[in-house]
Each structure stands twice: as C-alpha cells, then as structure tokens.
C-alpha cells in the first residue's frame, strides 16, 4: 500500500512538472540578470516549476504576448499604441505590471564640493557646453567626462534621458564598463560619469542629486528623479496560475531585495 502511494506521488509530481513550465520572453535589461535570479530563487521555493527565459529585446517580449507564445513578456519600455491595438485585434488584452525601476546615477568624486546638479547642468556638462567646474559652482578645474562606450545601451539611454538626444562632448572618454567609470571618477577629483545603480556604493565616489533628488525608491516612484525608467511585465489579461504566483514573488520582499541587489530601484 505504501509503495503504491509512493508511486502515485511520483506520478503526480511528474504530471505537475509537465504542467508547470513558465515561458518568459523579452527585454535583455530584465532578462540578463534579474529574472534568471528571481527564477532561481523561485525554483528553490517551488521545485516543480521550470523556466524558459529568452532575452532578445522588449519588442520580442510584447510580440510574444500578442502571439500567445509566452506567459510573461518583459519590457524596458511601455507598449506602444500600435502594439496594444494589434493585441486587441487578436483578442489579447495587454496588462502591464511594473517590475521595478531601472535608474542611472550621475557620480562625482567624493572630494567634489558639489552635492548635486540640475538637469540643465548635467546636459551642459555631458554635451561639452560647460568645460570647467567653476561654471556649475565647483572649484575651478577642467571637467573630465567619463561615459560608457558607444555601443552600450546605457550610452543611448542616457542621451535620451539626460541630454535631450544631443551628442556627447568630443572630449568625453569612453570607458569599457561601469567599473572602469567608477574607478576613474574615484581617482580624479574633476571626474564625472554615470553608472547603473548597482555600482554606486564603491569607495571614492558619491552620487549627485539631480534637481535635489537622489535616485532612491521614493524619488524614482514619485518621478522626482529624472534618469530612471520603469520596466514591465506584460501578460494576457490579469495574470493567473503560475505566472501570477511568479509576479507576486517578484513583488514580494525577497523579490524586490534581489532587484535592489542587481541594481534596480524596487517599487514596493
């Protein structure tokens, strides 16, 4: 009898293993690190669930929801009106859930007398309209601007968010990654750069407030901090079943802690 029960249990698990497969597609901002980490934690809690994660860009995530090939679509931008109308035409109602915010911090050397800059000053500095710290209220000295390299997504995002789509000053130095920007700004009293929020705790640098707002949870949610964008999960109608449980897990304390750890601003 015991044996029979065991077999039944194994069979049940096998069935549930088959059924519980969560397909998540879309943005590589989310899909590179955050969602795989969430999935790992989630699997530790519910071992029966398996994941299929494909991070090929926000557009593919939204398209996958419209075509019904994914349970959850990840996007680092809101769905466009044409996409929502295309979904409606197919009888799919796009429902968005904000996952967390993706923010960019402007960093200064910790010896800089400045605590913050205005949006206008940031634009002037990065476009090269202003080349000396004294013009924005600092000690006299030529500004050293450090940016990501031209093919990085953050390079373009920062232009959109902070520079009114203008080009970087030719005197800006293109660094290979966030770490290199941090280490240069930390060693150069006249340095300024921008990095993902996961990198701001390094020694020797400080985060500049923008128009008085630091990139914190409150200021980002209140839209007081300008250099942040929300990231989304898209589902067909209100999420149900395993997808709903996973989205709830994302919004749980643990899920948001993971988000903060990989450099996003949590929403809850």
């Amino acid at each position: 009898m015991k044996k029979l029960l065991l077999i039944a249990a194994v069979a049940l698990t096998a069935v549930s293993l088959q059924a519980q497969k969560l397909v998540i597609k879309g943005s590589d901002t989310l899909g590179a690190k955050l969602v795989p980490m969430l999935a790992e934690e989630y699997r530790a809690m519910y071992p029966g669930v398996s994941f299929e994660i494909a991070a090929e860009g926000s557009t593919t995530g939204i398209a996958a929801i419209i075509d019904g090939t994914a349970d959850i679509g990840m996007a680092s931008r809101a769905a466009k009106s044409t996409e929502i109308s295309a979904a409606q035409a197919k009888g799919v109602s796009m429902t968005e859930t904000i996952v967390c915010f993706d923010g960019i911090a402007v960093i200064l050397n910790s010896n800089s007398p400045l605590a913050g800059l205005s949006e206008r000053q940031v634009q002037q500095i990065f476009t090269g309209d202003v080349t000396d710290w004294s013009a924005v209220g600092g000690n006299p000295g030529t500004i050293s601007v450090y940016t990501r390299n031209t093919s990085s997504g953050t390079y373009s995002d920062f232009k959109k968010l902070a520079m009114n789509k203008r080009d970087y000053a030719p005197s800006s130095q293109k660094m290979a990654g966030n770490e290199q920007i941090v280490s240069e700004v930390a060693k150069n009293p006249n340095g300024i750069g921008y990095v993902g929020l996961a990198y701001v705790k390094a020694e020797g640098i400080k985060v500049a407030s923008i128009d008085g707002a630091l990139p914190t949870k409150e200021s980002v949610v209140a839209k007081a901090y300008p250099y942040a964008r929300p990231t989304f999960y898209y589902t067909n109608g209100e999420p149900t079943g395993e997808a709903a449980k996973f989205i709830d897990f994302t919004h749980s304390k643990k899920g948001q802690e993971i988000a903060a750890k990989v450099g996003f601003v949590p929403v809850k």
Binding site: V130, K159, P170, S171, Q173, E184, K187, N188, P189
Partner: protein
C-alpha cells in the same frame, strides 16, 4: 624510387622495400605534410585579406548614402545654424574662463572670502548673463528645426528598413507577406519645405542677434589688471568678429542646394580626412579616421622615443661591450619582457603606472615639465611608456642581429689603426649596421601601432584630435586609437551596418600600414646592407 627503365636491374643485398601506404612512402608523407601546411597558411592569409576587403569595401557606398541623406533631409542646412550656436557657446566658455582667472586672482592675491569675491564679480556676471541670453531666439529655432530634420531622417530610415524587409521576404519566397509590408515614400522636396521656409525669420533673428551682441559689448566691465584686460579686449574683438560672420552664413544657407549630388569621392575623403568619429548619434553619424590615426601615431611616437635609445643602446652594449656573464643575464631578461601578455601590462598601466605618473605630475617641483600637472591618468604618455616596453625586445633583438652581422675585419682594422673601443663603435660598427638598426626601429614601430590591449586600457579613449597648442604637453592628453576602436566597438555593432563596415575599413588602413612598414624595413636592409666597406 623507381629505377630508370634503361639501366640494368641492379642487385641489392637488402631486398626489403620501404613501407608504402596508398603508394606513398614515409618521406612523401612528411614532404606533403609540410607542403600542405605552407599551402594552408597561404590560403588562410589570402582568405583573411579577401574577407577584410569584402566586408570593408561596402562602407564607401553606404557612407555616400549616409551623407546624401544628411543633405537631402536638411540636416546639413540646420547644421549651419548649429555651428553658429556652438561658436557662441565657445565665446561663453571664454568668458567663464576669464571669470575663473579673476576668481583665483581675487581669492589668492587679495585673500578675499568666496562670498566677497562673488560680490566683486557681480558686474562681470551680469555682463556674462546678458551676453549668453542673446543667443536664445536662435537656439530655440535650432532646437525646433533639429526635431523637424530628425523626423524627416527617421521617416526615411524607416522607409528604407521597410524596403529591406520586403526584399528579405521576397528572397524567402513569401510574396504575400512581402506585399503586406507597407511602403512609405519619402519625398524630400516637400518634406524639407518647412525647414527652408524659415530662412526669412532666421534672417530677422540674426539681425537682432547681432544688434544685441553689439549693444551688450560696450558694457564689458573693467578688469583688475592689464593681463586680464587684454583678455577681455580680445573677447570683445572675437565677439565682433563673430557677428561679422553672420552675413556669410546667411548667404551660404540661401545658396544651399539639397539636390547637389554627393560624389563617391567625397564619401572617401570624409573618411580619410574626417575630423570626427561620431557614432550612435541621434543626429548624424560621422566616420572620420583622423582623430584615431593621430591617436595611434602619437602613442607610437612616444613609445619609440623611449624604446629606440633603450633598445639600441642595450644591443650595442650586449654585442660590443658586455662580458659573457652579462650577456647571459641581459639577453634573456630583455627577451622575457615580450613574454608578458599585453593585457597584464595594461592592468599594470591603469593600476600602477598611470596613478604614479599623475602623482608625480602633481608635485610642485615637477611643474616645469610641459603638460604637468595633468588630471587624466589614462593618456598618451601612460600608454606610450607601456608600449615602449613592448617595442624594446623587438628593437633589441633585431638591432643586435644587425650589429652581429658586421664583418669582424671591420672591427679589427679599426682597432689596428689605433681607434679606441668607443671610437670603433661610433665610427665603424654603428654606421656599418645602420640599415639593420633602422629596419629594427621600423619593425618595432609596426609592433607598437598594431598593439591593441594596452592602448584600449590605457590611452584614455577620447575620440578627439589632441590639442597641439599645448606643445610637448600634448602627450598628457587622452586619445583613442585605430586598434582600440575596433576592439571596443566590433562586438556590439549590427552585422553589415555602416558602422560595422567602417570598423573594417579602419582594419584595412592598419593592414596597409603594416604592409608599408614591413616593406620599407626589408627594402632598407637589402639596399643598404653594408653601407661602408
């Protein structure tokens, strides 16, 4: 193997024939193995060259298209005004530089508090503010037109994308899907009418702009000393000269023709003589190799200035002066340097050398050195110092070979005539091996200009022509290099895009540079093998 048919059959004591496989003996296998290897390497090299040219050559056509869109969509037209605004910004920067100078003067020489200094400078600040306000109407107009022109360009690019999409679908044989792709036709002539129609209002804005500048200038405050006053006078003169350029700009804009063809040759010259390398721009991408080429050359020159005396000096010493024990120590040591991976040297450069050089430059007693003090630790000097390390073994080994090849009787004859060892070295040995030494230097140069990792990590990656007005101090500025840009950008560009092809053309330029350098080195060695004797 096969005996000649005419000769009588010889008789051998050993009758054993060599083992053959498929009719080939071991010797044949070895021969065809080596021959095959040589053939494979020749084929691979040929394939690489063909690939380089095939991928790179499409660039010029694409760049021609890029430039002609720039013209047709009216971006070129708007850029006339943009440059005018930029020139105004440059003047403003001159003013703020002047403020910094006054500030330091008042603060350090007269010992005023920051608050007092700011109060003393208030009339200057008012003047600077009034001057900077004059540009606003023009700036607003430029920002409106920027949006219009960008929108036209975007629309055109989308229509091009649609065309490619349809082509791709047709290639796959999906005719229905291809027919469903909506085609947008962009008629540049009607699209840019709103931009061209702004010319009269631009003229009005320009007239008031010039008038306002002229009316602001007499309010320029008096400067505290003669040197600063001279700068202020210079500013006033520059501002007047600036307003004087307006009619010329207006005239250029009035005669600007969007239909003028962009020749293929101008796409070529835009690359070879272009002073901007600007990619991933929302406005206009430029692919000009000059800033990168100058960066590569500057770094190599610094490296050679350091490496040539070291390498050749060491070669002469080891070959002519050193004892056997010294030789046994020095030669392997120098040759060992080339065994250090360049990425390790790069890390050393960031973490140790760059930091140390910057600290050194900020010492008060070192200020007499041109370019000191500097604040960028990643610059030409740091990269050049490390590349010198890479070049020394090449130069040393080749130069030592050249010196070694000088016939012994030369030295003996010189000694027999009573020349000292030093005289022999300077008058006989070095001149006799000069061709070899020069080609050693050239090959060292080739080694340095092709080096990637060190310059990527340590040259500072600033895509701008360095400011040569700084004299020798130019070596403390950051640059970007041809090898560095390929390594940095190739990984992420879209396959087949203009940016991708531009990087290949940079590769072709490097290829030709290496070819020329090697050719010259060989030529010099052959022609002037022993220049005296």
């Amino acid at each position: 193997m096969d005996s000649k048919p005419s000769a009588p059959e010889p008789t051998f004591k050993i009758k054993k024939t060599g083992k053959r496989f498929l009719g080939l003996s071991l010797d044949d296998f070895v021969r065809s193995f080596f021959g095959g290897n040589a053939l494979v390497s020749v084929i691979v090299l040929a394939l690489i060259t063909v690939f380089l040219f095939r991928e790179g050559f499409g660039f010029f056509g694409q760049n021609q298209q890029n430039l002609s869109t720039y013209r047709q969509a009216g971006l070129e037209y708007v850029d006339y005004m943009k440059r005018q605004v930029d020139d105004h910004t440059a003047l403003k920067r001159y003013l703020s530089d002047l403020r910094v100078r006054q500030f330091t003067k008042l603060k350090t020489e007269q010992g005023l508090e920051i608050r007092e200094v700011n109060a003393a400078l208030s009339s200057f600040d008012d003047f600077a503010w009034d001057f900077s306000e004059t540009v606003n109407p023009l700036r607003n107009m430029v920002s409106d037109l920027t949006e219009t022109a960008s929108a036209i360009k975007t629309k055109f690019l989308i229509s091009e994308d649609k065309k490619t999409e349809r082509k791709q679908l047709l290639q796959e044989g999906q005719k229905e899907a291809a027919a469903r792709v909506q085609q947008i036709e962009v008629d540049f002539d009607t699209e840019i009418q709103p931009i061209l129609a702004t010319l009269p209002s631009y003229r009005e804005i320009n007239t008031t702009f010039a008038q306002e500048i002229v009316s602001v200038l007499p309010r320029a405050p008096q400067m505290p000393d003669a040197a600063l006053q001279e700068r202020m006078d210079r500013f006033v003169a520059m501002a007047r000269a600036y307003t004087a350029t307006f009619p010329a700009i207006e005239k250029e804009m009035a005669t600007w023709d969007p239909h003028e063809e962009v020749a293929l040759s101008s796409s070529f010259s835009a690359f070879i003589f272009g002073r901007d390398w600007l990619t991933a721009s929302f406005w206009q991408d430029w692919y000009g190799i000059i800033p990168l080429a100058i960066g590569s050359l500057m770094v190599s020159v610094v490296a050679l200035v350091l490496a040539v005396p070291l390498g050749i000096g060491a070669a002469i010493y080891v070959n002519q002066v050193a004892s056997d024990a010294e030789k046994k120590l020095i030669k392997p040591c120098i040759e060992f340097i080339s065994a250090i991976p360049s990425v390790v040297l790069g890390f050393f450069g960031i973490a140790v050398l760059g930091q140390a050089l910057r600290l050194l430059s900020q010492q008060p007693w070192a200020e007499f050195i041109p370019g000191f003090p500097f604040s960028e630790r990643l610059n030409i000097l740091t990269a050049g110092c490390l590349l010198a390390l890479i070049a020394v073994p090449t130069i040393f080994t080749l130069a030592e070979d050249a010196i070694n090849n000088v016939p012994r009787p030369f030295k003996e004859a010189s000694m027999a005539l009573g020349a000292s060892r030093l005289q022999t070295i300077i008058r006989i040995i070095v001149p006799a091996s000069l061709s070899g030494i020069i080609s050693a230097v050239l090959l060292g140069f080739g080694r340095v200009i092709g080096e990637t990792m060190v310059v990527l990590l340590c040259a500072g990656n600033r895509i701008e022509i360095p400011d040569f007005t700084a004299g020798l101090g130019v070596v403390t500025q950051p640059v970007h290099t041809m090898t560095g840009i390929i390594a940095q950008e190739m990984g992420e560009v879209v396959h087949g895009s203009i940016h991708y092809r531009a990087l290949f053309v940079v590769g072709i330029v490097l290829f030709f540079l290496a070819l020329i350098i090697n050719y010259l080195a060989q030529k010099i060695v052959r022609r002037y093998r022993i220049s005296i004797g």
